[in-house]
Amino acid sequence: MVHLFMNPFEKRITNSFEEAPMYVAVLTYMGYGIVILFGYFRDFLRAVGFEKCHQAQEREEQKDFVPLYQDFENFYKRNLYTRVRDNWNRPICSLPGPVFDIMERVSDDYNWTFRLTGRTIENVINMGSYNYLGFAENNVDFLKTVAEETRQYGVGVCSTRQELGNLSIHEKLERLVAEFLGVESAMAFGMGFATNSMNIPALVGKGCLILSDELNHTSLILGARLSGATIRVFKHNNMQSLEKMLKETICSGQPRTHRAWKKILIMVEGIYSMEGSLVRLPEILVLKKKYKAYLYLDEAHSIGAVGPTGRGVTEHFGVDPNEVDVLMGTFTKSFGAAGGYIAGKKELVDYLRSHSHSAVYATAMSPPVVEQIIRAIKCIMGVDGTTEGQRRVRQLAENTRYLRSRLKEMGFIIYGNQDSPVVPLLLYLPGKVGAFSRAMLKRKIGVVVVGFPATPITEARARFCVSAAHTREMLDKVLQSLDELGDYIKVKFSRHRSSYRPELYDETDFELDS
């Protein structure tokens, strides 16, 4: 049952994934059932010719050949996704800061084609961009150093790090990243996805074991697959599952020869972007030491976003970053740039400098991007002489807590940890997903909604990404709209609603001394 009294440490480590009442699941399946039946009906009409088929079709001459695509594989896209397609891929015409401008587009044929009306919806509050510290901005003072470095180093490098592409600015960045994280050494790469997919094969190979979380990102899965190691998946954030798997695999050894594993690597993420849950880092470190495994921590979303000074989950849990063997992160989310890094002991990073696929084949990072990261890190660390970075980190934490607690009070079901800036709000029914996104856009708030098959079938959700650049007024506007909309669409499914009592004693309700 609900654990009402949690000590502060427990609160920091627990993630909540409240389940909706059973009738919601039943209604969700009925919703999908009705849409599927209508989908079959519409497909029948299209086949017979009553309804115009908007999708690309094979030509008459090709009908006797083996078809290139199966009709049924696009059933979902044709009959479910296209009906609500106007909620994704909306064109914007400003930078994706805390507010942005959306180009208005309408569809005359039920989302098969769109046309831009020419009008712009201005100052739409952006609750979807990964802009945790608000560095997606066009501030002249902040970008002065970026402009200078661009003039000095040029725009592109056109060479790999190992050939001609190693600039002094790259080495400056790597030293700064290592200092920021509190580890010995770091190496930066041009793409966050490529950091995972190109470096995991350099670290593990055949004869090694990878234990990866159920909800790991595609880049981690691809890197694991490319490495050739044996992969076992453990249940999301579940330490019992992980320990059981560790015991079993260590006892049984490699698949055919039953020899000992060369290496065991546990791959987890700092914040999981679809659930908003934080990894249970202290417990994983205990397990890691007990079974002599290595830990690969992907802090794509958590670097800069959690922790009192923005150093990530290691700081959030008070853990020494040198205990994590491989610290990986991206510069895309909190630093407003592009790229990724891997940090750890000096031997590890030196090995990666010579053995990483990125270092040998991929172009080096572009100097303006590197300078943007450098100035963002300096800002967060406070090295540039202002307290702006610390203000932003604190503002983000405040905004996160505020949004999460207010949403919980209102009665929405929110997943994840109380400190994670990724806030998934569960909508469950497919119809509500479309309605929610459209209604929020009408109220000038841009949200990201996700449904099946990207999420499990019953758990369609809207995901909010809190930013330090959001002001209290913006959050209040969002909360008010959510309140009204939640009542109208009826998505307030939480059964643990805490009552919103602004005062401890209601002044109008006192007994007169008589």
């Binding site: 594989e73 899965i221 098959p453």
Partner: protein, 197 residues
């Protein structure tokens, strides 16, 4: 003399080369087949999804609340049929049984593949939904549930039709049509090549 020697050498070396080629091909075949079986990976690349489940269709029947929804759906069908004034109670039960089994046959044993693209390059394209459940593992709880539910309906239908011969024949035929494809021996079997591609 020299010509003869050369021809002889040539044919001899040809034979040697041919047998060497044959053995090298055989060795390569063995090596690659061993490599294939050793290196089969279980995880795939899922772009744009939030989980590492390759084919979500396999987990749908295990999700929370779907058995209840299914039971409620059958109940709703029965009530709708009962409310039609022309049908007597035995006819309604037989109709419920037949329509339920027909629907189950169509959706679980006739329709193949997934309604969305999966990242496993179409491993499940030729499999019906029943064969996709739990990636082909037999005797899981949802398989047992969906095997038992038409049997329960059959019992109820036989009772309410008072074991009348005509109804019995229809109900039994319908039950067999939906039970036989569920046998583990018929996993992936297509009789007479019907519904193969």
């Amino acid at each position: 003399m020299q010509l003869l020697n050369r021809k002889y050498l040539f044919s001899f070396s040809c034979k040697m080369r041919f047998s060497k080629l044959f053995y090298s091909q055989l060795l390569k075949l063995m090596f690659y087949s061993v490599l294939f079986f050793v290196c089969r990976q279980k995880s795939k690349m899922n772009v744009g999804v939030a989980h590492s489940e390759v084919n979500p269709n396999t987990r749908v029947m295990n999700s929370r609340g779907i058995w209840l929804t299914y039971a409620l759906g059958v109940g709703m069908l029965h009530i709708v049929l009962l409310s039609i004034p022309f049908f007597t109670v035995p006819v309604v039960w037989t109709l419920t049984n037949v329509i339920h089994n027909f629907g189950m046959y169509v959706f679980m044993h006739a329709v193949k593949g997934t309604p969305f693209e999966t990242p496993d390059q179409g491993k499940a394209r030729l499999l019906t939904h029943w064969e996709q459940l739990d990636y082909g593992v037999q005797f899981t709880s949802s398989r047992k549930f969906f095997t038992i539910s038409p049997i329960i309906l059959y019992f109820l239908a036989s009772f309410y039709t008072k074991y009348d011969t005509a109804h019995f024949v229809i109900n039994t035929a319908s039950l067999l049509s939906v039970l036989i494809p569920k046998l583990p021996q018929l996993h992936g079997v297509r009789i007479f090549g019907i519904n193969k591609y």
